[in-house]
């Protein structure tokens, strides 16, 4: 295996010595198989034993070594040095985002775990079964969705890179909502769909669909899809919320005219809050940007309406 050298720029922070974090560069001889974790271990053992990071299984399943590598949260034991170097040149290594740093690449995951706890993350099982030796009957098909969601290793990468979480500390976050959905979709959970009812207050509608939780998850859990599915349940169970009103207004607009009419969408979602934007709306009107609240339906609107009817029938079955 041919070797070459790679440059690592690592964010260091020792609370006993440093006032604030600073970058330090290291050079490491690498081969095509080396992972970032291998490189960090190498640096720690050969160059600077104070380099601090979490790690355990080195095979992508325990979740200990999640950190930002070239600005995106990944498992260090799976990030291949050569790939990172080829793509980005230097390899930038920093602790996860949205969590205060403890030391070097170790982030304080307290907020992450607290958000998980908010969701009552355990199966509410039928305790009358205690001691019995009969299992619940369940098919592989019935537990397919829960199974995929249960692949989560709680590494924190999705939480780190969640754009909404940066600005909205009430947002429960992708990992937690995905875990809640894991129980919602488990036929054995006695709470089941009832769990959806508390979610509006936990920021169910704060997810902005940035899809980072999908792209950064090392286990392909796709939390954003779980959030969308929870929103479907919330909307269809008539949980009142601005988010649900938004969905309803959108559907109505498309059913009636085939297009999204921003004016009616705005009014129906925001209601009297529209007054807050009165200045902006007037300015838009003067520039010819304000859409008419009375749109003309598109040609063949009947086809669109027919599809709405078909989908409704299927849903109601």
């Amino acid at each position: 295996m041919e070797t070459q050298e790679a440059v690592f720029r690592i964010l260091r922070f020792n609370p006993e010595r440093d006032e604030k974090p600073h970058y330090q560069t290291f050079q490491v001889k690498i081969d095509s198989r080396m992972t970032v974790l291998d490189a960090l271990e190498n640096i720690k053992h050969e160059q600077d034993s104070s380099l601090t990071f979490r790690r355990s299984c080195r095979s992508g399943i325990c979740g200990s070594c999640a950190m930002k590598i070239n600005r995106l949260a990944k498992l260090a034991c799976k990030a291949r040095v050569k790939t990172e170097a080829d793509k980005h040149g230097e390899i930038l290594v920093e602790p996860m985002e949205n969590m205060p740093p403890i030391r070097d690449l170790v982030a304080d995951m307290g907020e992450f775990w607290r958000e998980i706890e908010r969701g009552n993350p355990w199966l509410v099982w039928d305790e009358s079964l205690a001691g019995s030796i009969k299992e619940n009957l369940l098919t592989n098909q019935q537990q397919q969705i829960s199974g995929k969601l249960a692949d989560c290793i709680m590494c924190g990468a999705c939480f780190s890179d969640c754009v909404s979480r940066v600005f909205d500390k009430n947002f429960n976050g992708p990992a937690s909502l995905a875990k809640i959905h894991r129980f919602v979709t488990d036929p054995r959970d006695k709470e089941g769909v009832k769990r959806v009812h508390g979610l509006v207050e936990m920021g169910l509608w704060s997810c902005t669909h940035c899809y980072f939780c999908w792209s950064q998850c090392p286990r392909d859990v796709r939390p954003v899809s779980a959030i969308s599915e929870l929103r479907v349940l919330s909307y269809n169970s008539l949980d009142p919320s601005q988010g649900a009103r938004h969905v309803g207004a959108f559907k109505n607009s498309v059913e009636s005219s085939g297009m999204l009419n921003e004016a009616t969408l705005y009014l129906k979602t925001m209601r009297w809050n529209t007054l807050r934007d009165l200045g902006l709306v007037l300015k838009m009107a003067t520039k010819g940007k304000a859409p008419s609240p009375f749109p003309r339906p598109i040609p063949k609107i009947d086809e669109v309406r027919a599809l709405f009817r078909v989908a409704k029938e299927i849903r109601e079955k």
Binding site: C57, S64, R103, L137
Partner: protein, 557 residues
Amino acid sequence: MIKHDIVIVGAGLAGLRAAIEAKQKSADVAVLSKLHPVRSHSDQAQGGINASLGEDDSWEKHTFDTVKGSDYLADQDAVEIMCKDAPRAIIELEHWGTLFNRTESGRLAQRPFGGAGFPRTCFAADKTGHVLQTTIYEQIRKNDVQIYEEWFATALVVEDNVCKGLTALDILTGEVYAVQAKAIILATGGAGQVYSKTTNSLTTTGDGIAMAYNAGLPIEDMEFVQFHPTTLYDSNILISEGARSEGGYLVNALGERFMKKYAPDKMELAPRDIVSRSIETEIREGRGFEGSYMHLDLRHLGEAKINERLPTIRELAIYFAGVDPVKEPIPIQPAQHYTMGGVPTNLNSATSVKGLYAAGECACVSVHGANRLGGNSLLETVVFGKRAGAKAAEHVKEVSVVTFPETALKEEQKRIEALLNRKDGEKASEIKKALGTTMFDKVGIFRHKRELEIAKRNVATLQRQFQNVCIMDSSRKFNTSLIETLEVGFALDLAEVVIAGALARKESRGAHYRIDYPKRDDAKWLKHTLAVRTAEGPKLSYKPATITRFQPEARGY
């Protein structure tokens, strides 16, 4: 000083199962773990967990397979308990939410595992450990069990054969605390990191077993080290036995399914010690690839089956070996995997010290004897974890008060302080590397007096070097160099015991194979090794294996 009635060290399956039991029996219980619970090594188990659920199966058959698999060294009364309790233990896990694979009719699916006469291994694809650990951690949160997360236990405190508690380091702050407890349950797992090639995580360093040894307890059967036959070439990441239960073949460089020569009946599903020795023999006799590995061929299973039953190992092979098992055979070689030995306990997980219990891989009941069957380790954790929790809860009701000796804390604080302040000396990482290589090369699958003696001398040298180890990072907060150094210390202690046991045992049984004593010798050696720490090294004594139903027979597959 931290005070609890029960403190459990280790947050894997055994530790957490014990905690739930103790909590439900209203004990004041806390779990202490150097990792966040979900990072524990139990999470990495793949293949499955055994129970005789099938109509044509029985706990007696399960017991027999386990006893035979152990090469007749297992204590049969303990095995009976484990196999009898298995169905209840596993169904309980299902009730708690484990997502096991199912049959068409919705019942728990089971697959055949090595050395089993019946398909009795329940599984969740090939990530059974992850699924179980996740489920049990969820129930821990439901029961609101207190956890000291990222706390490193440094020493057990035992006085007049009574357990008083332990000293532990809060990794976050670097402070060393006295933890007073009426009962301590050790659930710290195995000691794979004693070996250079191991499937075990970097944190599986035998802490609990070493602490017990250092506190004066005997430790049992340490020479019995399981080498898993199929680990990825080079990284030694585990490739589950499940791959073989689903029908995978082991093939040498000549294209032969060589297991025919060594276990014509069970073939690839012979017990692990036999398969590992077979692979190693094939390699030594020149029929390996690049002189190092064999092929595990899954191509004939087809993509659909591999994706359904073995998705994890497919991903691992692609990612860490650059090979897609759907299209190519996987390069595999044996590596250390499981520690059959550990802290000796009775049938209720109690050790010889009052108030001290042990469960899971760090304990030696012994249910696995000289070799463990796949699927029995996950079973052991929940069966004996529960028993440990129950017994400890009972015990603390009877004990009134326990006083932690202040000197124990002061001494430990001084020791750590001295370590941190040393400015110059040996590197722990170098010592660890040398230790691992010596152990794998000389105390591995095939052993010989000559090599064992060299290993003994090497380890003695390394222990002397370790007296002068320097951490080169004197920070207190989150000092992982300190933790890694303490772990190397534990590993050195245990390595010495493994070698002593292996040297003394002049026979071959289960996973312990002596080229110079290739036969099993029941007349002289149907007994467990016990090692106690002395200034001159481990002092060995023996106790007979408990036999109830099955008299030892020749072990062929």
